[in-house]
Symmetry: C2
Subunit: 359 residues, 2 copies
């Protein structure tokens, strides 16, 4: 009796809703048109409803056809609210990151799309509060997992632990200052070692390097790779060939000149290891303007393998990040973590040396 009343009420309201709400087709609309229950439609379209809900092939056919004709689009908010997955993955990016990082993001989006996920991005710069807010925000939207590219700041230490315990799961790209988390890292150190090996092989005796600071991990890894590279090649460290300066973080012609002054003019370096391809190109051009031959007098290496590095003159010897491999692994690992959140994954990708004319 009660149920009957409620049902009538419901039906009435449904019709009313249909009239006012001119936007989208609902499951119930299809059910009504197909003259079946909503569960049947749900089952036919999305195979939900548990195992004891079955429908005949004929019914399924009919429902599918009608849904198609009505251009039915399930409402994700409703599905999520009813406990289903959102199929959204989020990315946190440093808004000052070099553009080449977006090459990686683009690939990540592609991989995710293949697996039926949507991709949400958020950017910030050196702001732990902001980072945590974004993570909260992602969680509000039901984001299932996060790929972070925005945590390599000296200031981000164990406070990050607060972030760690949060849902959704996070895969950090580049090891964060944090115990017991999932991360995937490009072995920057190995990249620099390969460069040192290569330069030594080419007969360079005074290999210089410049770095922005000792506090961010990517810089530390470069320095470490440099030291290890020298060591395995039996070259002793000359500290004058290592220049640290925070302002080098942002490439500029002035910086390039300063680096040349110190390393080449003053310290007589015959090779310069640049922290990225932009710097390499600038240094090469400044050297040429100052009458040096590259690689005759000074060899120069880059890092990132940007588009232009291939057609610079001379073309630039550099390290390829293997972003496609990174993207593929990142997506696979993150999805694994989401499925079975007990696992902890720490993986490393070896980048490769690309030999070109600048060495």
């Amino acid at each position: 009796m009660i149920s009957r009343e409620i049902k009538n009420l419901e039906t009435e309201k449904m019709y009313k809703a249909k009239d006012t709400n001119n936007t989208s087709i609902r499951l119930a609309d299809i059910a009504r048109k197909a003259n079946v229950s909503r569960i049947a439609v749900s089952k036919a379209l999305l195979n939900t409803g548990g195992n004891n809900v079955r429908i005949s092939d004929a019914t399924r056919e009919k429902i599918l056809k009608i849904a198609e004709s009505m251009n039915y689009k399930p409402n994700m908010a409703a599905r999520m609210l009813a406990g289903k997955k959102s199929n959204i993955i989020g990315a946190l990016i440093d808004s000052h990151a070099p553009l080449c990082l977006y090459e990686c993001l683009r690939m990540i989006e592609r991989k995710l799309a293949e697996k039926g996920y949507r991709f949400m991005i958020a950017q910030q710069h050196n702001d732990l509060g902001g980072l945590m807010e974004y993570i909260d925000d992602f969680s509000r939207y039901g984001v299932e997992g996060i790929i972070s590219f925005a945590h390599d700041y000296p200031e981000f230490n164990e406070q990050l632990a607060k972030v760690l315990r949060s849902k959704p799961d996070i895969l950090y790209i580049g090891k964060p200052k944090l115990k017991n988390c999932n991360y995937l890292e490009v072995d920057v150190s190995a990249g620099i070692r390969k460069i040192v090996d290569h330069l030594v092989r080419k007969g360079r005796k005074r290999i210089g390097i410049f770095l922005a600071d000792k506090t961010t991990r990517t810089m530390q890894l470069r320095y470490q790779g440099y030291l290890e590279g020298l060591k395995t090649n039996g070259v002793s460290l000359d500290e004058n060939l290592v220049v640290f300066n925070n302002k080098f973080r942002h490439p500029s012609m002035e910086n390039a000149s300063e680096i040349i002054n110190i390393l080449v003019k003053q310290e007589k370096a015959d090779a310069i290891i640049s922290m990225n391809d932009n710097y390499a190109a600038m240094i090469i051009n400044q050297l040429k303007k100052s009458g040096y031959d590259v690689p005759g007098d000074v060899a120069v290496t880059g890092f990132d393998n940007m588009d232009f590095s291939e057609f610079n003159s001379p073309s630039i010897t550099t390290i390829n990040h293997c972003y496609d491999a990174l993207a593929e692994k990142a997506v696979n690992i993150l999805l694994e973590i989401i499925m079975d959140n007990k696992i902890t994954v720490n993986e490393v990708i070896k980048p490769e040396l690309i030999e070109r004319e600048s060495t």
Copy 2:
């Protein structure tokens, strides 16, 4: 009587739910803890509930404090389901687009974030079906508006109209083959005119141009700008100085050589208008290798103002897209459209010439 029963049932279930569902704090949890109704909480936190819902300052204070302490994060799915905005904006990008486009996307994300919106991206390439599927998908997720960068294909003609009538609203970047839609466009034509003006001013007599095809809009605009530029400068068109070839779509050294062979060696061009900075850099370097002086023998211009264009040697005269202006306008316009969907906006951004050494 009935309502009483239902209420008891509800309360019981709520507690049960709280025990099983260990994930997130709900509005009701705060209400219970603060010993107020859910509406009061809703009002305090989000100022919802209409005008006839009021709470005392003391109550508000108390609620806010408790929400804070419990780290309450409203569930967007529930809010959306209850009819609120999603605050999500989507972008459609061509997965083969040059990386510099992501510079623009990054800015768009920043602007959107400032206004409290989240950003979802989807990529595809030359696939109208795919494009429409993404739009449907965005709509499933409650995306409020879409910025499209992925519609400039010769194949995408009036079929796009099907897309037009869809919700969410779409702002096209670059005029689509579609009547009566919202678009924002960089005036590529004006950019090329500025280049022609500049080259003529520099005394160039035989200005060559190469283009990929006559069917995509960006190419048509370039060609149009070239013709207009010649006309206003009183230079008559020599069709041999215009080279169309579909394969030029993807920059390569071979293409650069071919272009030099045709335009410089064969047609004796003293200036080459490249379709982007990548090509310009390649052509400059190939010219130098073949013994030409740039800009002495041949001037070369680019388009896009990439990072490296400034420190190439010679640095590259190019056109700056003004992506920041584009991003700002795109966001403002889209949000306007969302608010009042009756408006139709067609705006154009004038790019600027950047004079450097290559001319």
